[in-house]
């Protein structure tokens, strides 16, 4: 087997592989940066909860469209995700529950509701598709949606970069200078939901968040500044997509989980090899004079 057979032929020979690859690249571009900011805002688990929250909406879209339809399920997921994000924010501001506790309650409800709704009409195969995605069955319409969401994500992040960071560093300061921190917070939550919706046909509702959080953790292990973290996270998300697709092709594995497992493997390697990882502790370098 030549290198060409290994790395390029699958994409050159099969249209579904090409579309899957483009979907992975677009997903990585959007989810990577969003994941880094989620992690830095100490909202990793919130991202996880939101990905579950998308499910009942997607399931309702599934029912309404009478089958797997990305526009209907995407719209349903978007509405459900936003509703849970807003409701959790509301609950934590008006009751004694902290935001993480109210997110946990909402996502458990959502997951149960979602599985219930899909199992009303659909088969177990449909349920599997909703939960774990079908990246090899992506059509051009779905590609446009994913690419559009990635482009909108990057443009929005570039626009609200400064207030978002200020809100994360020191929310009191932003309130004190009269800027609307909550507005940027909700814009950011909107981006999270949008990217989860983009990810759920390819990776499924449960694993869409994997392409956010794993690259973010990898980035934090390798670099220390925010721009570098955003770049490393995007690169590792894209690389996991590329490598995961190839591995799943050559070994006949399910592609969504393979992509996430590839990202996990990168993460484990980083845990050991990265500058702030385990290996470096075994070889302490001599300290500097100043």
């Amino acid at each position: 087997m030549t290198l060409h057979d290994l790395l390029i032929a699958p994409f050159a020979d099969y249209g579904f592989m090409r579309r899957a690859l483009v979907a992975c690249l677009a997903l990585g571009l959007g989810s990577g940066p969003v994941g880094v900011l989620l992690m830095l805002r100490r909202m990793s688990l919130v991202g996880d909860a939101m990905s579950h929250a998308v499910l009942p909406g997607a399931a309702l879209g599934f029912l309404a469209a009478g089958g797997l339809s990305l526009p209907a399920m995407g719209l349903g997921g978007l509405v459900a995700g936003l509703a849970v994000a807003l409701l959790s924010g509301l609950v934590s501001r008006t009751t004694v529950l902290e935001e993480d506790a109210s997110f946990a309650s909402f996502y458990l409800t959502s997951l149960a509701l979602g599985v219930l709704i899909v199992s009303l009409k659909g088969s177990n195969i449909d349920l599997l598709h909703v939960l774990f995605g079908t990246i090899l069955a992506i059509d051009p319409a779905a590609l446009y949606l994913i690419a559009g969401i990635s482009a909108a994500t990057l443009a929005t992040l570039a626009l609200i970069y400064r207030p978002l960071i200020a809100e994360c560093l020191d929310p009191g300061f932003l309130r004190a200078v009269g800027a609307r921190g909550m507005l940027y917070h909700f814009l950011f939550l909107l981006l999270v939901v949008l990217n989860l919706v983009a990810g759920f046909q390819s990776l499924g509702t449960l694993m869409a968040v994997g392409l956010m959080m794993l690259p973010a953790s990898i980035a934090k292990l390798w670099v220390t500044t925010l721009p570098a973290m955003l770049a490393v996270a995007t690169l590792s998300a894209v690389a996991s997509g590329f490598a995961g697709l190839l591995i799943s092709f050559h070994y006949g594995l399910a592609s969504g989980p393979t992509i996430i497992v590839t990202a996990s493997a990168l993460y484990c390697l980083s845990l050991i090899l990265a500058p702030s990882g385990a290996i470096m502790r075994l070889f302490p370098r001599l300290h500097l004079k100043h």
């Binding site: 830095l40 100490r42 400064r162 200020a166 994360c168 929310p171 009191g172 300061f173």
Partner: protein
């Protein structure tokens, strides 16, 4: 610097209907340098936030005489800041130019230059590219003061600026506060060290939920007043009745 007085009239702020600040009245004259002191839980930080207009009042009014929200410079307590965020010292200081840059406008060369000067004014020249996570507590407090320098605010509110800060850093930062006082800015600081208040702050507001004394530091920080503050802070009743407004503090 043109400035105005801040008038507090019968200000009450409550959490869950329990007053954290109870019937406080008085004036911060323009350009005054005031220390707010009192036991833990006395409502000092709450009062600061209310002065900025960040907390709703349960009663009374605060007249700011044309000072807008953006004219306030605020130094939060250290615990409210996420210091592990991967931001450089220069970027953290540049947030102080928010009034000029807003959320979207660019940083001009002049502003960047000002930030460098502010950093050297707080003794951190050359720290621009260091991540804030690598700084000590004292160095980080200097960064926050540099941010305030850049903010060029008419009213500066400092919430426990010298907690866990060593003597030398405290002395440097006190010098900056004196400089601001000389500029005619109104400065209000929550503090715990009575000796520091006596030697550097001409005016003092002593409170324990209710006002105990507010005026010249010498006449406010008497032993009798401090004893009163300590006893008042300790009586918190779970089954309090609705306040009729008749029994307000004498001050």
């Amino acid at each position: 610097m043109k400035n105005s007085a801040i008038h507090l009239t019968d200000v009450t702020i409550s959490y869950h209907r329990h007053p954290a600040v109870h019937h406080v009245s008085g004036i911060f004259p323009p350009g005054s340098l005031t220390a707010i002191v009192g036991p833990n839980g006395a409502g000092k930080s709450t009062l600061l936030k209310a002065i900025m207009g960040e907390l709703p009042l349960a009663g009374g009014t605060i007249q700011r005489g044309g000072i807008e929200q953006r004219d306030f410079g605020y130094l939060p307590q250290a615990a409210e800041i996420n210091r592990s965020f991967p931001l450089s010292v220069a970027d953290a200081v540049l947030l102080g130019a928010w009034r000029r840059t807003g959320a979207f406008r660019g940083i001009t060369a002049a502003i960047a230059d000002e930030a460098r000067q502010a950093l050297s004014a707080v003794g951190l020249a050359g720290f621009e590219r260091r991540p804030i996570g690598s700084l000590s507590a004292g160095q980080f407090q200097r960064v926050l003061f540099a941010r305030l320098l850049l903010q060029d605010a008419r009213v500066i509110l400092l919430d426990e600026p010298f907690n866990a800060i060593d003597a030398r850093t405290t002395a440097d930062l006190l010098a900056i506060i004196r400089r601001w006082h000389g500029d005619g800015r109104t400065i209000i600081a929550v503090l715990h060290d009575f000796e520091q208040v006596k030697s550097h702050f001409p005016r003092t507001l002593l409170m324990a939920r209710e006002l105990i004394a507010w005026g010249d530091t010498g006449s406010s920080l008497t032993a009798a007043h401090l004893l009163k503050a300590r006893t008042m802070a300790e009586n918190w009743l779970d089954s309090a009745v609705v306040c009729s407004g008749q029994d307000r503090g004498a001050a």
